[in-house]
Every structure is written in structure tokens, then in C-alpha cells.
């Protein structure tokens, strides 16, 4: 059961991720991104992180990609891009190097932590059916308890980003005398 879910979700994630890169149409690429995000949400459910799965759908699929699409539609860049020509020459070799590096690092991490991963279940507090809200309780304990400073700093960062965006969009126009 778990293997089956994993395979399906992994296929979704990979298909979506490849779609984001390969599809030349921005809207199609954004839709592929949603597929990936859904796959990740399914993975979360399989790992019994129900709350994270819901947040994944609400925040990423529901708000962020909607904003992507909104910008794509509003700016009218919804036409097919020619992905054959390359704006920056170094981009592709660099992408290959970085990609291989990430794969290497992840593989190394998995290999190094093989013992920990294989002995799963011990010491982990898994939420169960009896208390469906244990997920949130654990998460809120760590977010608002152990890591509250980091959490607050992150939210300040977001506010700064919003204020900065508003400031950048409000360019001061030269004062025009006559009122129309």
C-alpha cells in the first residue's frame, strides 16, 4: 500500500517537474508545477503529516501558483517561449553541474544516514486515529515554542518584502499643476 502510494506520488512529482522545465508555454508550466505540489501533498499524507498536506495545497497550490498564473495573465506573457535560444551562455552547463551536485549530496546524505532511516519508528511520536489533532499540536509546539524567534524573524522578513514591493510600485510622479 505504502509502496504503491509512493510510486504514484513520485511519478506525479517527476512528471510535473519535467513538465515545468519542458513545456514552453508559461501557463502549462505553472499547471505542471501544481501537479508536482499535489504529489508532494500526497507524500505528506502517506507520512501521516496531514496538516502539512493541507497547508501544501492551500498555500502553494491555492495561493502561490494562482498568483503566478495571475501575473502571467495580467502581463500577457502567456505565449509560447522559444526555449531553444539561450539568453545566458553559462546557464546550461552551470545547471548541469548544480543538478549533479544536488543529486550527489542527496545520495550521500541517504547513504550516510542509512542506519537511522532503516530503524524507523523508534522514538518517533506518530499521530494516530485516536487523536487526529496531534499533528497540529506537535507542529505548533515547535513553531511557536522551540523555534519562535526564527518564526517571528521570518514573518518580519515577509512583511519587509511586502512593504518593499509596495514602495517599488509607487513611483513618485512629477507633480502636475492642473487638475483634470
Amino acid at each position: 500500500m505504502e509502496l504503491f502510494v509512493f510510486v504514484v506520488a513520485a511519478a506525479m512529482i517527476l512528471a510535473g517537474a519535467i513538465g515545468v522545465v519542458v513545456r514552453s508555454h508559461p501557463v502549462h508550466a505553472a499547471l505542471s508545477l501544481i501537479l508536482t505540489l499535489f504529489g508532494v501533498a500526497v507524500m505528506f499524507v502517506a507520512q501521516e503529516a496531514h496538516f502539512l498536506a493541507a497547508v501544501q495545497v492551500i498555500v502553494y497550490a491555492g495561493a502561490i501558483v494562482v498568483l503566478f498564473l495571475f501575473v502571467i495573465m495580467l502581463l500577457g506573457v502567456d505565449r509560447t517561449e522559444d526555449i531553444k535560444t539561450e539568453p545566458f551562455k553559462v546557464q546550461r552547463p552551470l545547471a548541469v553541474i548544480v543538478g549533479l551536485g544536488v543529486i550527489g549530496l542527496v545520495t550521500a546524505a541517504v547513504v550516510a544516514s542509512r542506519d537511522v532511516v532503516s530503524s524507523r519508528g523508534s522514538g518517533l511520536v506518530t499521530p494516530d486515529m485516536a487523536d487526529p489533532d496531534s499533528n497540529i499540536r506537535q507542529l505548533s509546539r515547535s513553531v511557536f515554542g522551540d523555534y519562535v524567534v526564527a518564526f517571528e524573524v521570518t514573518s518580519v522578513l515577509l512583511v519587509v518584502a511586502v512593504v518593499g514591493t509596495v514602495l517599488l510600485t509607487r513611483r513618485v510622479k512629477p507633480v502636475v499643476k492642473e487638475a483634470s
Binding site: 496531514h50 496538516f51 498536506a53 491555492g62 494562482v66 495573465m73 489533532d133 513618485v172
Partner: protein, 405 residues
């Protein structure tokens, strides 16, 4: 089987070995919920047309069946056989996909509404069918009410992509409006739901219903009415119903996002809209009006059925209110819509959520009640003052700079 229970196990019935009887019960629930959903939508379309006709001094549908009850069926049959047009400039795949993205979430919300069961006197609403304990509810996932927010954020895609993929101007305008509107009101929607969750202490919808034991415990009263009002307004905007139907403002946008749709694809949007009205009414009843909890005991009817009767009665009241709003209220202007959403509803729901949290903390920690209330009033006044000051400054700036676009 732990994992499979947590994947499937949105229901106490699916814990343990999945044998034939539980599977059949689950299947039966799915079929019944699906069928009831469709029939209810059909009746809702009829009810809305009939009620509006009454308010407009018209007769309304009266030919097909008794009192025109079968009018929707006739319309649906017509839509099935109508030619399905595909605009030349449309994005074929997305154009075909969009109606389902609108329709499926509308249907899935049904699964988390407790449709019955005996919650009176602190009972947990579990019923026993054929020797198996289950809920009168399709699924009771651990994320509970968050599923509503997730699904309503998926529903945005249906409308947005429908407008975009049509490849013409008016649908695009309608869908850009829609996505802006739905994303803006989702925040207020979520924050007012958060207030309910704060009081109920659980996300699960059956838990939320179970928390509303008797009339004074109904969340509409115990959260102090404001979250209910905000939820009602935000839900109306989320469903794109009048007075928030800027998405399909006929006078401005021809028909909005669904201009290019015909046949059963249009029918799916239509169905989704009406089904959303019913499910949202169901969610409002679940969150704020005790769901299947009754005001009094109806004699002669067993507890579980009584809950269903109460639920239907309450939902019908809200359906009537929605029809009534549609018949009486003029459409908002776009800037009014955004002002209401961002400058009134979101600050109000956030402020009220903080207030409820503080009051709850004060009760738990046994603080001095008078001091807490005084401090709350001072802070609230301060916040309102700062907010209105900010609004005034930004308005002055806007007027000085002139229109930006």
C-alpha cells in the same frame, strides 16, 4: 495496516481489516452522497428560479412536472445534447480540463459535512450500521475543515483557467477578476474558520459539531456573531454569487469566464455553482449552527435521522437567504469589493481572532476579567485608529498622485 488506515482511514469503519461489509458501506455512502448531491442541486436550481420569480412578480418555471420541478432535468438534458463548441483560439487541453476543476471540488466538499448522527448530550455522532460503527459523513479526515479551504483554492483554478483558455478578451477579464476576488476573500474565510477552530479545539468537522452541544454553545453565539458574518460574506464572494458576481457580470463581460462554453461543459460550471451554494450552506451550518444538532427533540424519530432532518432544515434556511440576497442586492463595484475584502473583512477577522484567543487564554490562566476586557478594548480602539489613519493617508496619497493606470 497503520498506513493504509491513515490513508483510507478517514472513517472509524476502515480501521482494522477491510472486509466486504465495511467496503460496501463506504461504497454505499459514496453513491448516496453523490446522488443526494445531484438531486439537491437540481432542486436548488428550481428553488432559486421559483423564489426569484416570486420576488420579481413572475411565475417562474411551471411547465415541466408539478410546479415545474423537473425544469432542471429538462435543461440538463438539453445541455447534454447541445453542440459542444471549442473556440479556435482556445487552449484545447486546458479548455476541456477547466469545467472539471470547478465541478470536482464542489462535490468533494460534501464529504466532510456531517450529514446526520446523534450528537445530543455529548454523544459523538457515531452510528452502527450492519454491526459496523461509522459516521453519517463520507469522510472524517484529520485535516477536517482545512479540506474546505484546500478545495476552495482548487476551485479558483476552474474559473481562472476557463477564462484564460477560452482565448478571448471578456472571459479573460472575468477570470482575472475571479482569481483576484477569490484569493482576497480566502484570507478572511480562513481567519473566521480559525476562530471556530480555536473554540472547538479540533479541525475535524464532527468534532466541531460535537462541541456545539446546546443552543448557547452554537459557535455563532460563542464566537460572538462577527466570525459568522465575515464567513457568510466571504463565502458568498468565494462562490461568486450575487452581490459578488463580478466574475460573470453580464452587463460588463457578456457572461464572464464561461462566455465561450456551451453544452454540458457550461452545464458543469452551472452545476458547480449551485452545488457550491448548497455545500457552503452546509459548511456554515456545520461551523456555526451546530450541524445536525437539534434545538429540541422531535418525538418519534430516532436520533440519527433527527440530526439529518435538523441539518436539512437549517441548510434550507441558508439557501433561502442566498436566493434572497441574489434577488435584492445590487452588484458591488470592483473597487468596493476589494476595499471590503482587504480593508474591512481581513482586519476585522484577524482582530476578532486575536480577541478570542486572548479571552480564551485569560479564562484558562484565570486572569482578572475586568483588566483583560479593558486592555482588549484599548488595544482594539488603538488598532482601529491606526488602520483608519493608514487608510486616510493612503487615500490622500492616491488623490495627490492621481490615478496610476
Amino acid at each position: 495496516m497503520v498506513t493504509s488506515a491513515s490513508l483510507l482511514g478517514l472513517d472509524p469503519i476502515s480501521i482494522g481489516n477491510l472486509m466486504w461489509a465495511p467496503l460496501l458501506i463506504i461504497l454505499m455512502k459514496v453513491v448516496v452522497v453523490f446522488g443526494v448531491g445531484l438531486v439537491a442541486t437540481m432542486l436548488m436550481v428550481w428553488f432559486e428560479r421559483k423564489a426569484i420569480a416570486g420576488m420579481n412578480n413572475r411565475i417562474g418555471p411551471n411547465k415541466a412536472g408539478p410546479w415545474g420541478l423537473l425544469q432542471t432535468l429538462a435543461d440538463g438534458t438539453k445541455l447534454f445534447f447541445k453542440e459542444d463548441l471549442l473556440p479556435e483560439r482556445a487552449d484545447r487541453f486546458v479548455f476541456r480540463l477547466a469545467p472539471f476543476l470547478a465541478f470536482v471540488p464542489a462535490f468533494l466538499v460534501w464529504s466532510i459535512i456531517p450529514l446526520g448522527g446523534d450528537f445530543s448530550n455529548g454523544k459523538d455522532g457515531l452510528v452502527t450500521w450492519f454491526g459496523h460503527t461509522t459516521r453519517v459523513q463520507l469522510a472524517d479526515p484529520p485535516v477536517g475543515i482545512l479540506l474546505l479551504l484546500a478545495l476552495s483554492s482548487i476551485a479558483v483554478y476552474g474559473i481562472m483557467l476557463a477564462g484564460w483558455s477560452s482565448g478571448s478578451k471578456y472571459p479573460l477579464l472575468g477570470s482575472v477578476r475571479a482569481s483576484a476576488q477569490m484569493v482576497s476573500y480566502e484570507a478572511a474565510l480562513g481567519l473566521s474558520v480559525a476562530t471556530v477552530i480555536l473554540l472547538a479545539g479540533t479541525l475535524s468537522t464532527s468534532g466541531i459539531v460535537g462541541n456545539q452541544g446546546n443552543f448557547v454553545n452554537w459557535h455563532v453565539i460563542s464566537t460572538g456573531v462577527i466570525p459568522f458574518v465575515i464567513f457568510m460574506i466571504a463565502a458568498t464572494a468565494e462562490m461568486n454569487r450575487p452581490p459578488f458576481d463580478l466574475v460573470e457580470a453580464e452587463q460588463e463581460l457578456v457572461g464572464g469566464f464561461n462566455t465561450e462554453y456551451s453544452g454540458i461543459r457550461f452545464g458543469l460550471f452551472f452545476l458547480a455553482e449551485f452545488m457550491n451554494t448548497i455545500t457552503m450552506s452546509g459548511i456554515i451550518v456545520t461551523l456555526f449552527f451546530g450541524g445536525p444538532q437539534g434545538l429540541f427533540d422531535i418525538p418519534g424519530i430516532p436520533g440519527a435521522w433527527e440530526g439529518t432532518l435538523w441539518l436539512i432544515a437549517k441548510i434550507v434556511v441558508f439557501l433561502y437567504i442566498y436566493v434572497w440576497m441574489r434577488a435584492t442586492l445590487p452588484r458591488f463595484r470592483y473597487d468596493q469589493l476589494m476595499n471590503l475584502g482587504w480593508k474591512i473583512l481581513i482586519p476585522a477577522s484577524l482582530g476578532w481572532f486575536m480577541l478570542m484567543a486572548v479571552l480564551r487564554l485569560a479564562r484558562d490562566e484565570d486572569w482578572n476579567r475586568g483588566v483583560v476586557v479593558a486592555a482588549c478594548i484599548v488595544v482594539l480602539l488603538l488598532c482601529v485608529g491606526i488602520l483608519s489613519l493608514a487608510n486616510r493617508v493612503s487615500k490622500a496619497n492616491r488623490e495627490r498622485e492621481g490615478a496610476m493606470f
